[in-house]
Amino acid sequence: MFPSRARGLLDFCMAVLCVWTAYHHTPAGALVRKASAWAFSSKSTARPLLAYYDGMTGTSLAAPMLAPEVSLVRPLTDAESLAWGTHLALKGLDARAREPFAALAQELGIPMDRLLDPVEGPVAARRLHAALEADFPREEARLTALFVGRIPARYAQERVVAEGGAPTLESLNRQLPPGFETASVGAAQALALSTAFGLAWPVSESARVTSPFGERHHPVLGMRRMHTGVDLSVPTGTAVSAVAEGVVRRASEDAVNGRVLVLDHGRGVTTAYCHNSELLVRVGERVERGQLIARSGNTGRSTGPHLHYQLELASRPMDPLKFRASVRAVSGDSSR
């Protein structure tokens, strides 16, 4: 059926090429790498299996990105949000992954220590962004350039354009050969953080926070539980608006969350709005920043009218107040 000819060399090269790609680029290859590392008692270089789909699942979020060390004194502009996200994600990288930053910082005469400084770091990161803005006008391409280097980023950008797709961070990362995984995760974290810094507030800025994010004594269950969002005291029927543009990922009702909306803003950022009296958008619908999406209420497991607002970065709940300039006074009553 398949007569063997003098094509052994070509067949061998192509087979090796395919095995090399599978070894580096597929979860099946990662399984082989992990198995061989286990067999030879060495350390596997394979990423977590689930990270082969979105680049972030299964990878640990670096501690510095949990929140800025310094409180924000005023609302951030888009450029400042990007700089803050970049600074925090950079702090989570190891020394090797910081090399592209170090190279650009050296060109601009910015000491690396300054980039990592909690106060001056965001300002220095903004200078880096400004230096790259002409070559990489889109934020996602610019972050790729900062985290993986200008040359790989330009190459990835040209490949994405050749494929006819939008230069999102995910599509840019897909074009890069093995070796850029850690830097790509850093860029994704920076993008998620900067998006979080730029979010609006779902109700009036003056709404009181009646129960903050974190461990609390649950008012209904009577035990200590993690409160994965913030409770905002608003009367039933208050307009709830989208904190950024996005797509409605969930619009449902259950006994715990009541009438709940989940918005996917892309870039690894999701927000949820629980205990509403009325939902005004449907699953799959695209919403704009500030658009009326629901009316608050007292549905589900709730002891009074309020809005439970939740922010998730890379699918992990984060304290939304850490990304706000003005933190409202927290009431002693956390009974909502």
């Binding site: 395919c18 790609t21 597929t26 099946a28 789909y53 990835a156 490949r159 990922r249 969350n257 999701t270």
Partner: protein
């Protein structure tokens, strides 16, 4: 007049390549099945990678329906909190991984059964060996095509077509990786222009080479496998054979064709 010595240079180099080819040819039984397996696995992953966000949406809808159901009763209401957003995303990724590995089993594993007929096997003088050992000659493209037309079954049609789709997606991924690696490693040595054209040329070469050496073999091997599996069954059972596997691979094949096959991008 003394006889002219034969030209040494070109024939030596041709001889060297032929010798290397012949030497490597002796190991085709090992590297060809592995290459086919890897190519299909790469293509399946390229397709699965485009489906994971859709799976998140499906998991969200299922979870919303589940929450609505268990939330009706006080006893089951706490079950609403079982699945957080983080867990839902993780479930979707796990589903994508499971789907991909299942498709690997269905499409890539048969590649390990790939065998090439040796020259000895087709020699008439050696035909007694095949007869004694009960070996059956593998059917040709033509015989397989005719059986597909006369005795069509989902497995005979869908498995090879799905393999073709993921193989093209796999070849694109290999070419993309080749282009990126070559460009980024050659750029400093040879300059931007040379590295760019070299990388593009090698990417197109890899794309064509992979399809010409491994691609069609992967499709043929799956066709042979599907044909043999269907031939073991009769009537209705032959029709229903492998339906589950087809259901697993067809959506991935569609995703491969629609979202993971940027063939033209290598020429732009």
């Amino acid at each position: 007049m003394p006889p002219r010595p034969p030209p040494a240079g070109p024939s030596t180099s041709t001889g060297f390549v032929t010798d290397v080819s012949r030497l490597l040819g002796a190991f085709r039984w090992a590297f060809m099945p592995l290459g086919l397996l890897a190519l299909v696995a790469v293509g399946v992953h390229a397709a699965a990678d485009t489906l994971d966000d859709r799976l998140v949406a499906v998991v969200d809808r299922v979870d919303a329906a589940f929450d609505g159901l268990v939330g009706r009763y006080d006893v089951t209401a706490p079950m609403v909190e079982w699945v957080s957003l983080e867990l839902r995303t993780r479930i979707a990724r796990i589903l994508a991984l499971t789907w991909e590995l299942a498709a690997d089993l269905v499409l890539a594993l048969p590649a390990l059964g790939y065998r090439e007929a040796t020259a000895a096997a087709v020699k008439p003088a050696e035909s007694w060996r095949a007869a004694l050992e009960g070996q059956e000659a593998k059917p040709s493209w033509r015989a397989l095509w005719q059986r597909c037309l006369r005795q069509p079954t989902p497995m005979r049609w869908l498995r090879p077509l799905a393999t073709a789709a993921v193989v093209v997606a796999g070849a694109c991924t290999v070419a993309k990786l080749m282009q990126g690696t070559v460009y980024l490693s050659w750029r400093e040595l040879m300059g931007d222009q040379v590295a760019d054209w070299g990388a593009r040329g090698l990417a197109v070469g890899a794309l064509v080479g992979v399809l010409a050496t491994l691609g069609w073999r992967a499709v043929l091997r799956n066709l042979q496998h599907a044909d043999a599996a269907c031939a073991q069954e009769r009537g209705r059972r032959a029709f229903t054979r492998g339906l589950l596997g087809c259901a697993v691979v067809v959506p991935l094949a569609l995703a491969a064709v629609l979202d993971a096959t940027p063939l033209v991008s290598f020429l732009r």
